[in-house]
Symmetry: C2
Subunit: 353 residues, 2 copies
C-alpha cells in the first residue's frame, strides 16, 4: 500500500485527511506516476462545432488539420479524438492533446503556423465553430485513478509509470486527497467566468477568462477489449445511469456549479466511433464536483455499481483524471460557436462602469 | 448559520474539517444544545428477550418492572419503549433510559433495589432473557441531528435546547465533524469485544468488555403526526429501503464492523405499537459506520430520498444521535440471552495461556 501522493510531492500537512493513516481501501486501485522532473502539464481540448450533418466532412477535415499541426515542432506528447452532441444539439468533434512541458506548448501555440491558422479571418467564414479550452495544472494540482495498470489513457499516458495499490480511494473525499495540493490548500474558487473579449450572443471570436481552481474531470470507460459479460455490464447496467447523470449536468449544470459537461465518444481519424467514451466536465471548484458526486442519485447509482463490480473487472477499463488549475494557466477561446458552448454559457459580461 | 459544535466545546483544531469554513449546506438542519454544565450523559438500553409468543405477557411485566425502577432515587431523566424481532427470531422489548449525570446513574445502578433485582437467581429461572447495554459519552463524544426543532426525542430531549441552522451537515463526513472530539481526535477503535465472564453459548450470565470508541447510533423516524402524503412517503418510499439496509446490518453486520443492529418499533406501556421507530446500531468505530453509510446501496438510496424530501417535511420527523465512548464507560451484560444477542455475537473469548 502506498500513498497516491508521490514521495517527492509530499509536504508537511496543514490540512488533515478525512480518514486515518491506517485506512484500508476495500479493493485495489492505481494512479499514474511520473519522473520527478515533470512539473506541469498541459491539457488542451480543441473543438470543431457544426450544426448540419452536411458539414461533417468539412468538420472532420478541420479536425484533421488540427491533428496535423501536432506534428509541428513542440507538438503534444499524445492526443485522442472524440465526438459529442452538445446542449444545443450541435455536433462537436474534439481532440484533446497533452503536453508534458508548458514551455513547449507555448512555443507551439505561438508558432506562426498555429497562430496564423487560429487568427485567420477564414475561421470566421467557414460556417464551422472552433474552440480551444486549455488548462495547465502543476503536478501538485491533479490526480489520476485507474482500475487497471497498463496503457493509461489521457494524462496517465504522458506520465508513463504506474503506482502500486494506493490508499486514498474508496471513500468520499479521496479524490481531493489524491491531489498533492490538498495537503495544504482548500483549492477554492475565486472570481467568476468573465467575458473578456467578444460577445457570445453575436458569435465570432470570444475569449473567456477563468479563475483559480476551476476543476476539470475526465472520467472514462473503455470497453474495446471487454468480453460479452463486461460489455453487457457496461452497456446495459452502467451506461443508462451514466447517461442520465451526464444529461443532467449538460442541461442543468448551472444549478450545481458545473460550467460545462460533455459526454464524448471516442472516434478514429475518419470519424468512426470506437468502444470508448469519457466525460469532460469543467466545474467551478473541486468542492462543487464533490457535492454533486456525493449526493446526485445518478452518480451514487454508478458509484454503487462500480463498488460492486470493480474487483472483478478484467477488460472493461474505468478511470478518471481530475485537475485544478490557476486562472492564469487557463485559456478558453471560441470562434463562431453557439453562446452556450463551453465556458461561454456561465460567463458574465463585466460591468463597464 | 452556526457550528454544530457548541461554543464552549470548541478548541484549537489539530484535525481539519473536510469542507472549508464557508461551506453552505443545501437545506437547514438542527442539533440539540445543552447548558454548559452538562458534561457527560448515560444512554442505557435495558432489554427483555423471549422466544415464544406465550411469554409476551411475562416479558411486558418484566419491562414494566424495569420502568417502575426508574422512579427510584437517581432514576433517568427520560426513557422510551420499543420492541423488535432479532437476528435469531427472538422477540425483544427494550427501554432506553437517559441520565444527564453519570454519578446519579451510578447511584441508581448500585442501589440495593436495582442490584438486587439484576443479580437475583430468579433472573436465571424465569425463562426470559435480560440485557443491559450502557454507554456514557462525554458531551464532546456525541452529536445529534434533527430535521425539526421541537420536542426532541432521545438525548436531545435531555439536552433541552435547540440550535439555529448548523453548518456541519449535507456532506459525507459531517457526522464526524459534528462530534466536538473530532477537532483533535480520530476516535479510532482499540482492542476487541471480549467475553470477560460467562459463556455466551451456555446462556446464563455473560459480561462483555467493550473498547474505546465503539460508536452507537440511534436513527429515528416518527410519523405519528404525519399527514397522508408524508405517511405514504415514509411507509411506501423510505421504509422498504430502510428495512433492506437494517436487515443487511442485522444479518451481515460482522462483515462491515457493525456489532449489533436493531431496527425497533416504539410501543406504549401495554406493548401497543406506536407510529415511531428507530435503529439502534453499535459499530466497532465511527469510521466503520461511515464506510458503510457512504457505500451501501440501501443507505445511499435512503440518503438520496432524504435529500429530495427533507426541505418539504412538515410532520414526519427524522433524526439521529451518534456517540462514541471510552471502553471504561461501557457496560454490556446479558442474562439468559441467545448467543448472538447484542455484543455477544462478535465478542472473542480471551486465550487463557
Amino acid at each position: 500500500m502506498e500513498s497516491a501522493i508521490d514521495t517527492h510531492l509530499k509536504c508537511p500537512r496543514t490540512l488533515s485527511r478525512r480518514v486515518p493513516d491506517n485506512y484500508e481501501p476495500p479493493f485495489p486501485m492505481f494512479v499514474a506516476r511520473a519522473d520527478a522532473s515533470l512539473q506541469q502539464v498541459v491539457m488542451a481540448y480543441f473543438g470543431v462545432q457544426y450544426k448540419q450533418e452536411s458539414q461533417r466532412a468539412a468538420a472532420l477535415a478541420a479536425l484533421r488539420h488540427i491533428i496535423g499541426s501536432f506534428d509541428l515542432a513542440d507538438g503534444p506528447v499524445r492526443h485522442d479524438l472524440t465526438q459529442h452532441r452538445d446542449n444545443e444539439d450541435h455536433q462537436n468533434l474534439m481532440v484533446v492533446a497533452y503536453w508534458a512541458d508548458p514551455a513547449a506548448y507555448c512555443r507551439w501555440l505561438c508558432s506562426d503556423e498555429i497562430k496564423g491558422w487560429w487568427d485567420s479571418d477564414e475561421r470566421l467564414t467557414e460556417g464551422l465553430g472552433y474552440f480551444r479550452e486549455v488548462v495547465a495544472p502543476r503536478v501538485d494540482q491533479y490526480e489520476t485513478l485507474y482500475a487497471f495498470t497498463e496503457d493509461f489513457p489521457g494524462i496517465g499516458g504522458v506520465m508513463g509509470e504506474t503506482s502500486g495499490d494506493i490508499s486514498e480511494h474508496g471513500y468520499w473525499g479521496s479524490m481531493r486527497e489524491r491531489i498533492p495540493l490538498s495537503q495544504t490548500d482548500w483549492m477554492q474558487a475565486n472570481g467568476k467566468l468573465t467575458v473578456v473579449s467578444g460577445d457570445p450572443n453575436k458569435g465570432g471570436r470570444v475569449v473567456i477568462r477563468g479563475h483559480d481552481n476551476i476543476a476539470l474531470i475526465r472520467s472514462g470507460q473503455d470497453w474495446m477489449e471487454a468480453g460479452e459479460q463486461e460489455r453487457a455490464l457496461y452497456l446495459d447496467e452502467i451506461l443508462p445511469t451514466l447517461e442520465d447523470g451526464m444529461d443532467f449536468l449538460r442541461d442543468n449544470g448551472e444549478t450545481v456549479g458545473c460550467y460545462s459537461n460533455r459526454f464524448v465518444r471516442s472516434i478514429d481519424i475518419d470519424g468512426n466511433e470506437l468502444d470508448e467514451s469519457y466525460n469532460i466536465g469543467h466545474w467551478r471548484s473541486l468542492e462543487h464536483l464533490e457535492r454533486w458526486a456525493e449526493s446526485h442519485p445518478t452518480h451514487l447509482r454508478i458509484f454503487v455499481t462500480f463498488f460492486r463490480v470493480v474487483a472483478g473487472l478484467e477488460k472493461l477499463r474505468l478511470y478518471h483524471e481530475v485537475s485544478v488549475s490557476d486562472g492564469k494557466e487557463q485559456m478558453f477561446e471560441y470562434v463562431n460557436c453557439h453562446a452556450r458552448t463551453g465556458m461561454m454559457r456561465d460567463a458574465v459580461v463585466p460591468d463597464v462602469g
